[in-house]
Amino acid sequence: MRSYILKRLLMVLPILWGVSVVTFVMMRVLPGDAAMALVADTPADLERLRASLGLDRPLHVQYGIWLWHVLQGDLGTSIQLRRPVVDVLLPQFVNTLILTAGSFSLAVAIGWSVGILSAMHQYSVVDRATMLLTLFGISMPAFWLGLVLIWFFAYYLKALPGAGMYPIRGDKTLGELLRHLILPSLTTAAVPAAIMARMTRSSMLEVIRQDYIRTIRAKGLPEWVVIYKHALKNALPPILNITGLQLGFLLGGAIFTEVIFSWPGIGLQLYSSISGRDYPMVQGFVLLTSLCFVLVNLGIDILTSYVDPRITVS
């Protein structure tokens, strides 16, 4: 197991290098550049600005300079914000992780419990209602759901805040953070929760129909023991897989939520960085998220093999 983890970790470097090359080329292929985003006065000024940003150099030279700095732990300086990329990205990444953690917890709690409940009461009113709800969940775009939630909870009921991470005029307390986290988490969690619910339901149904469950029931064990101790454990590997995939979705899907709720995370930053062709920022963002994806996938693989010893990580 240890050598497998080491091997996977060693693979991270070429993956990140590949991702960085692809991102670098793709960002440069896009029409328009960072100098244009800064809105210089005339094309001559634009050229001067490009030279001052180093964008007039050949592409491979620009990439080489960037890579050389990265290898020394320097992700460069944001063109739009004129600050070190790390200084901007790390605090925002923590904010995105908070949102992702909130959304993930909600998605798992809702998705798994709804899925199990539906499976336990197959074809009942509860089952049909929850599956209809999950259909809504999958179909609802985050930007629409977010606005509806803000309108209802923040504007109409005045029960929850609808923007930011902390009150703009008040103190930064944990309680306030949690209050601010509810609506964006719900928005981001809607789709993954619905997908998890459907996957949990079908996986559980498959297991529940098996003979050993019938045998356990015949032995007279309480239903919750049957479900949670015996059925769920065996239904878990596919659920875990889909849950792991959804974690990746949540990291990426936070972009819309962050824009709507003005959540100061990397999603909001990425939105403005891509719009402004802030190359160092986008490169830094992609490196960071790629690293997360690789690590999350590795974590899920290890967890799956732990839950189901028949699956070996090697």
Partner: protein, 558 residues
């Protein structure tokens, strides 16, 4: 200008009743009513100064929901107008646009320069500086500070020269030949030729003549000013957390009237609908660029919806290298074919005015309401097309962006124009591009197969017209991306640029506008009215008639 107050809709809380204790408050209300009527006649809008006669309250924090992250706060190296709305609080400049009078057009006034003199040949500008001014770091303001700041933008061998600043302010300083310190509080700038718009350029966006504390430039270096913006403005910088907040606090050592507010927080809210909801939930006090369709609801709910003339024009650069638009009659057919009033009403809910007074901007000196051109006339458009040899019309391409700075709702607007032009026989294919992609195309100029490229721009001075239509500025060298080449127009604009007498310069620019409009080199479509929406508790805000302003005269009702 429209300025609504929720309290007027609540019985027992009308400003008239409150103001009844003092007769002069009646006068203020009456004056407001007269102004309302005058403005209503002009633009169908209403003004009611809901705060007239109230005693300003000291303190409080105003939160402004800005449509974007303001970004770099170095006054000499920022681009967007939205950034100017933050920079203007921190940095005072030699000259500025007075946004506090509510006058349209707003006048240019001295700020750190008490006054200035222009030599009879229009080549020397002497600025007499204000005494007793301190920067936020306690440094005294003087002529040396002005010299360092101007040289930062212009003089390439100066130790504090910053090439990036030059890229943004070159237009203002391009004819500057010398910068002399005459004494501690007098400086002189010499130009190689007269430049009628030199002072307006110095005031533009609070940028070229904004003064940074010289010790800050020396301490933090040119690149460090972005994170350490230290000026002599009414508010000082506290912190900037990208995409979260920029915090400013009242500068107690400000030379002028100190602001009422303790703090101003600028909060980036990029989504228009979320911006409106943030205002409605009380999380912000002011928003800009609200969606036009939110106007009626917000006014009904008592929010103060302010709008008025600003220096904006949304236009179509007709391509003179295109086989159809090289013909003046075809260009005029497009001008007659567009229903500007319908566009303003149905697409933008009257948050813009139709561009009926030629190729210029409402707050520029060349704006002349007595000159009206190209009312919607499809019959005339068809006749002109027939005369030009296209009785059955033709197909062409118009390009625009999907969004972007000052672009309003480019695609729905283009679709409306597309429908209008179809009625006269011109089949328009719309090509819409992402903003920066479009800016890249736009800088290159329209290729022959493209009929028109849309853009929005504007300034409260006229030199910008030369940048749009002078043959010297033909794309890809300048902004003339419709490739206008009109020697007569060039001659008039050249004369206007170097005319030292403002009145004569104005006449020349008006002549240029009439000629360019007659030739229909550009199709002026609408002028944005720059809606600003305030919570009912925001008082003392005057519509600035400019795209940037400060909150130094604003207070918050408890």
């Amino acid at each position: 200008m429209r300025h609504h107050d929720r309290r007027r809709k609540r019985p027992g809380r009308s400003p008239i009743r409150r103001g009844s204790q003092l007769p002069w408050r009646y006068c203020a209300t009456l004056l407001g009513a007269i102004l309302s009527a005058a403005l209503w006649l002009q633009h169908g809008m209403v003004l009611s100064p809901s705060w007239a006669g109230e005693t300003p309250r000291q303190g409080g924090t105003l939160v402004y929901g800005l449509e974007t992250e303001p970004g770099v706060l170095d006054p000499h190296t920022f681009g967007p107008w939205a950034t100017a709305r933050v920079v203007m609080h921190i940095f005072d400049a030699l000259v500025t646009v007075d946004t506090s009078s509510g006058k349209s057009p707003p006048s240019i006034v001295g700020q750190l320069a008490e006054r200035w003199e222009i030599s009879p040949d229009g080549k020397e500008y002497t600025f007499f500086l204000r005494r007793g001014v301190k920067f936020h770091d306690g440094t005294d303001f003087n002529a040396e500070a002005v010299k360092i700041n101007i040289e930062r933008n212009w003089k390439e061998d100066a130790p504090w020269f910053y090439d990036r600043a030059q890229s943004f302010t070159r237009m203002a300083f391009r004819w500057v030949t010398a910068m002399d310190v005459l004494d501690d509080f007098t400086v002189r700038i010499r130009l190689s030729q007269p430049f009628s718009d030199f002072i307006p350029y110095l005031a533009d966006k609070q940028q070229p003549s904004a003064i940074i504390s010289p010790p800050a430039i020396k301490k933090y270096g040119n690149k460090g000013i972005a994170q350490h913006p230290i000026g002599a403005g009414p508010f000082e910088f506290v912190e900037q957390i990208p995409n979260e907040r920029t915090v400013l606090k009242r500068f107690e050592g400000y030379w002028g009237k100190k602001p009422y507010l303790d703090r101003v927080i600028i909060r980036p809210l990029p989504d228009p609908a979320a911006r409106v909801l943030a205002l409605q939930t009380g999380e912000v006090d002011v928003i800009t660029i609200p969606p036009p369709d939110s106007k009626d609801q917000l006014i009904k709910q008592g929010y103060q919806w302010l709008q008025g003339d600003v220096h904006h024009i949304w236009l179509l650069n007709l391509n003179h290298n295109n086989q159809y638009f090289a013909d003046k009659r075809v260009r005029q057919a497009v001008c007659y074919g567009i229903d500007r009033r319908g566009l303003a009403k149905h697409v933008l809910n009257d948050t813009v005015i139709p561009a009926r007074h030629g190729i210029t901007m409402p707050t520029a000196p060349s704006w002349d309401p007595s000159f009206t051109a190209y009312e919607h006339d499809p019959t005339k458009a068809k006749r002109l097309l027939a005369e030009a040899g296209y009785p059955n019309g033709f197909k062409t391409i118009f390009q625009t962006s999907t969004a972007g700075s000052g672009q309003l709702l480019p695609v729905p607007m283009m679709e409306y124009i597309q429908r209008n032009l179809k009625e006269v026989g011109i089949e328009v294919e719309i090509q819409a591009f992402e903003w920066l992609t479009y800016v890249g195309l736009w800088f290159k100029g329209a290729p022959p197969e493209v009929g028109a490229m849309q853009q929005s721009t504007g300034r409260n001075f006229d030199h910008i017209l030369a940048r749009l239509m002078h043959s010297d500025n033909d794309a890809p060298i300048g902004w003339n991306n419709g490739h206008v080449k009109n020697p007569e127009l060039d001659k008039i604009m050249d004369a206007a640029i170097v005319e030292p007498d403002p009145a004569k310069a104005q006449q020349l620019w008006r002549k240029a506008v009439r000629l360019a409009t007659e030739e229909c080199h550009i199709v002026p479509v609408v002028h944005d009215l720059m809606p600003i929406v305030l919570s009912p508790k925001v008082k003392g805000f005057v519509f600035p008639h400019l795209e940037w302003w400060t909150y130094k005269d604003v207070w918050l009702e408890k």
